[in-house]
Amino acid sequence: MQEAELQDILTSREDGEYIINIGPQHPSTHGVLRFVVSLKGEILEYLIPHCGYIHRGIEKMCERLTYQQIIHLTDRMDYLSAHMNNEVISLAVEKGMEIEVPERAKYIRTILAELQRLDSHQLWWSAFGMDLGGPTCFFYGLRDREKILDIFEESFGSRLLHSYICPGGLMNDIHPNFQTRTKEFMKYFRKKLPEYDDLLTGNVIFEQRTKGLGTLSKEEAISYGLTGPCGRGSGFSCDIRKHHPYSAYDKVEFKEILYDEGDTWARYKVRIDEMWESMNIIEQLIDNIPAGEHTARMKPVIKLPEGEYHQRVETARGELVAYIVSMGDKYPYRLHFRTPNFNNLFVINRLAAGYKIADLIAISGSLDLVIPDIDR
């Protein structure tokens, strides 16, 4: 929204209407996001999301970096889907260079992506519970997330920003313990996930706070460009893993979780069910990782042939697209990311208008926003 337009709205407000700023420093915006909220009592009249507080110009920076270097920047977009972000650039470059990635790397990439999805959904679940006023959820979620981060740390030395998947395959081979620890975690988490339902899903207050709240129809979800669990909560079948399989997703059996209600509850349920599906995928792959090289032989300097390359992956939040325009140089001429959160954010005025402040927090929690992914 333009500054002048905003001023217009601010000055022309009705009697009894007032403006508050939620953010950029507010516990429930999950980062530096700012909502300018117009309220009438407790009722939300309209809402203007302001982003840009953590804009770092990643797309522009990428124009002066080699493809191996770009990997390290993609981590910093959606830091909770770091593996998938690395993967999208790697896949796009591999497509351009026409490299065949070893099967081993494909399998490991898929496992890592699903582990990352679990990790992300666990953190989302924790924060969502806290948004609704139940801080206990936070500790249950983080307790289990810690186990995944430990696996990550052992295998490639970092817990959040991995930069592990790179053009051609993987930076290194996995740690010898990786498979056993992942299997242990699967066994552990299958027992712990029902606890999430006990604590939050079955709660009367929780059901009343989320059911029928912020309903979005399938058509609207499509026109707003919602993807990921938010889109699937409205019945929009948009799982890239299913429709355009990459890595090893064509070798595994899994369901695409779809709910038709389109409310906050549906978006919640999609993510809970996705955690079960992710575990299914990992369990199908973890014992069958083929032996062999972990990376294809790559030239030290990658020069992408002249042309345009396009790659989509499914992150924990939706569809991430990398669009590379190359002039045959070692740098991309232009690199654009279509990040899921950017589209998911701007539906919030449509969802939250007419509800109460508490509902705004619940709805923005159910969209699972990661702010650096919006601003890039």
Partner: protein, 363 residues
Amino acid sequence: MPFNIYDFSVTTKAVDEYFKAHMSPTWAFVMELLIVGLVFLIVYAIIGLYLVLAERKVCAIMQNRYGPNRVGKWGLVQTIADLIKLLMKELIPVRKSDKFLFNVAPYIVIIASFMAIAAIPFAKGLQGVDFNIGVFYMMAVSSIGVIGTLLAGWSSNSKYSLIGAMRSGAQVVSYELSVGLALLAVVIFSGSMQLSTIIESQANGWWIFKGHLPAIIAFVMFLIASTAEINRGPFDLAEAESELTAGFHTEYSGIKFAFFFLAEYMNMFIVASLAATVFLGGWMPLHIGSLESFNRIMDFVPPIFWFFGKTIFVIYLIMWFKWTFPRLRIDQLLTLEWKYLLPINLLNILLIAFLVLMGWYFK
């Protein structure tokens, strides 16, 4: 009471006589007031501080954590350290705030809870004032606190505070009805509003057992409504840290914030002790009908332990659902009160009146 050694009125009478013998009646009165005031101040501070620690420990257990365990054994001194930190914090003045009301609000809140504690019977003979309308007094005094909350929100010159204060106002005014009606249940049973008489009437069994189902309903109603009245989770809409950052005390710091904080915990203690007094027999030991030997053994436990044991039990219940439930929304909160709690309470009162009229309860 077979054990007169547990009767505190012996001690208090001795002190009274000592003062009367040594000085004029006016001075004796002043001295007694001073001593009582000082004792209450110390008890108030200690209970408030250690409830904070207890809450941190309970919530840690609920959340798979250890809680404070570094300062002192089991973190026992942690709460003192926090108090010192709070006392040393800068008091940040807020621009364009109403200075007088801003400063006076924390005192109103803390005075309200301090006045309520005066009527709590801690043990036999250990009670600040034994009003003949004790229940009514507790209700009246504890509802003064909301004025402080409203003033804090209004004078802070912050919209977050204002929303929190308005929520708190709507909430306390509504839930006070249910608290009153739930207490009325026992007032009908025991036929008195005096807290000491209510306790005496439970010598052969607590009202929650003697009053059949209606008393249990009244106890549950009291627990729910009073949790809402003291602005604790899942009814902590006035603070609602995920929506309003800290609600009505967003702009407060240092000792003024500490006052709000302390008052919140003391209100919890007051509510719990009222529940223990009215429904669970206060300092009365657990007596079961004609089991003489059992009753004798129970009498050995000093009344003050019974009182604090029951109060801690109720406090644990209140903490338990704070740390396991998500927060309600404001409209759901008011719906719960006006559409469910209040009608159930009214019917319950009618039922109890009928029971008492027919004499269909354990006497």
